[in-house]
Assembly symmetry: C2
Homo-oligomer: 376 residues x 2
């Protein structure tokens, strides 16, 4: 059996005000083309199909077109769960009709102990749910963490689990040790959200969504597919694609297959002048760029100038103001410096220039006036 | 063949800030119960299933539950079109899967010449579309009115129409002579929107949505089902339900069947004091009420007092201020009256009381001061 594992499509995603729809249409077309060659038995989409609980028309149409092609035209069974970005009610609308053509949209906790069977393989689905929903479902107010909720879920599944079968768990959650990126909205605020990898040992395979890096976790049976596209500038170094999970007898192998996007995300660092002179290394001018530049304080509307050369510039950070970096590498003892030197140092750190004689004189005047005023 | 004709469900409707969800759940449950007795061959829903293009979760779930019961559990074929309130993309999501169980959601102009056939009966669907969409579809910029668009549509349908069959037209539009109510949003602004009834004579039956009165038009073959509930206070006198269209050989008969709602809409007129003393005739205190009351100018927060007795009061109009009615039945010639009398008349028309001696004196003082000021 050949299973394709994908997740985190985030249809309708808007990055720094820019709709990624064109990129999503492109990558899903490529995904469909690849599926025509792969000819999988099943495709698993482990949550976050949409980026928002109120997806716009274009996102809805793109999802429908994609699953229409995969399921109705190509006759590939699909299993999907909701992620924390999806609205359950919107995602599973029509699910009862879809099941008739082996498209399973699982958003209900009630279905967690109803595996979807394909021959010897049983797929258990754990849709994303809040701690409150878990408490309500299990009628247990002592559930306070995702780890506790998962324990309950796994016990619940264990009651029906058939050990003679190959059992696959599908979920949308964070496993401890996973690599995070900025576009994964935290599952909850204020509670421990990661779960321990060892909890899943009753399963032969765990197919997860939520973390966007395809190699988020080092495990021989727990797998993230990663997202379909780079969805934040913290993901620029992450490969994107899908995973093939091949089951032969009881042996299960997996392989990551990258898909090249229409545009990549890039972070470009350097001097402003070098950027506009096209002296900085940029993989493609059409890529989505985040410039982190120095020496641009005197430029008016630098974003406009950058966009004339790099039309998909989405972010610009003035590196000179990057207070995360220590501003003074030397450990300057301010107390030992005179006022004018302090001001000149500050001016220099901001503008990379020193005060002119004229400026110095003016500041001296002001300082004198101020100091006389304070001693009155 | 027994066809049920319904339309204008307006799921998600909010009337004067009040969600009608509970009423809609109630009426659809009743509709389903009735269908269990009617056992129709087909149900036609002629548009405006939702009240808004962004229906909320509850409205989406209510529609899904209802069509699930009718189509999947009771195995009744359904034909639906979008109305002017529906978003095509949201309404027809999943339509390709639904058709496999004879649930047809038709929102596309391309399908207008693809009738849905049930034996000898062909159903032609004309989804609601704007003039612009019609111009684009027919590649004809001369289309400027709904009448012109409809002519095009009927010609388009006529090309494939089989006269040996019984042909039924399903649409969401206004036919001339129809009775309007406040909750039917105008189809367009600034253009003639009604179409002539005679245009439909190639059809054996025309099943329409949009107008909320089930007897909106006097025709032996053109029919509105009317809305499922009263959706504005201009509809308080309209019966609500569905129509049965029975086809035997070439004979077609129809019958209106009312369904009693959870709450009716009522307009209550009279004096404020009579209202709070429960002296006015109200069919049910639980009904949605619009009070039009007199003699309430001195009452502070009359709405609160009314709601304590009639919890579903949705509107209150101070009839004293109803400028639609002539305020003075006598033709008073203001020019001939002195200032004090004019002020007293005005005070009386607003408060139903006359000025006290003290008030008169104060006003005289002010008037004198004003007149002296102006003559300076």
């Amino acid at each position: 059996m050949k299973i394709i594992h994908t997740a985190d499509w985030h249809l309708g995603r808007i990055l720094n005000g820019k709709s990624l729809l064109e990129d999503q249409v492109y990558i899903l077309n490529k995904f469909i083309e690849t599926m025509k060659l792969e000819r999988p038995d099943i495709i698993v989409i482990a949550g976050d199909l949409y980026d928002t609980s109120y997806p716009n028309k274009d996102a809805i149409q793109l999802l429908e077109r994609t699953i229409d092609t995969l399921n109705l035209e190509m006759n590939i069974p699909l299993i999907m769960i909701n992620g924390n970005h999806d609205s359950k009610e919107r995602l599973n609308y029509g699910a009862k009709w879809f099941e008739k053509s082996q498209m399973y949209i699982r958003t209900s906790l009630e279905d967690m102990n109803k595996p979807i069977s394909f021959g010897k393989v049983d797929f258990y689905t754990m849709p994303f749910a809040t701690i409150n929903e878990m408490q309500y479902f299990f009628e247990d107010n002592t559930i306070e963490t995702h780890q506790q909720a998962l324990s309950k879920v796994l016990t619940y599944m264990n009651e029906v689990l058939d050990k003679n079968k190959i059992n696959i768990f599908i979920g949308h959650l964070t496993v401890q040790g996973g690599i995070r990126s900025e576009s994964e909205r935290p599952l909850t605020i204020g509670t421990v959200e990661a779960v321990e990898a060892s909890a899943f040992n009753q399963f032969d395979r765990v197919m997860l969504g939520h973390l966007h890096h395809p190699f988020s976790i080092d495990s021989n049976y727990i797998n993230y597919s990663g997202s379909l596209l780079q969805y934040s500038f913290s993901e620029t170094k992450q490969p994107k694609g899908y995973k093939i999970v091949q089951i032969e007898d009881r042996e299960i192998k997996d392989k990551f297959v990258p898909i090249a996007p229409l545009r990549q995300l890039e972070v470009i660092e350097g001097n402003y002048e070098d950027a506009v002179q096209e002296q900085l290394e940029v993989k493609s001018k059409e890529n989505y760029l985040h410039f982190k530049l120095k020496h641009m304080s005197h430029v008016s509307d630098p974003m406009m100038h950058l966009k004339q050369i790099y039309p998909n510039t989405l972010a610009l950070t003035n590196q000179t103001f990057d207070f995360n970096m220590p501003m003074h590498h030397e450990n300057i003892e301010i107390q030992k410096l005179d006022d004018e030197t302090i001001i000149d140092n500050f001016y220099n750190s901001i503008t990379d220039e020193h005060l002119t004689t004229n400026q110095s004189k003016k500041i001296e005047k002001i300082m004198t006036a101020l100091l006389e005023g304070s001693s009155k």
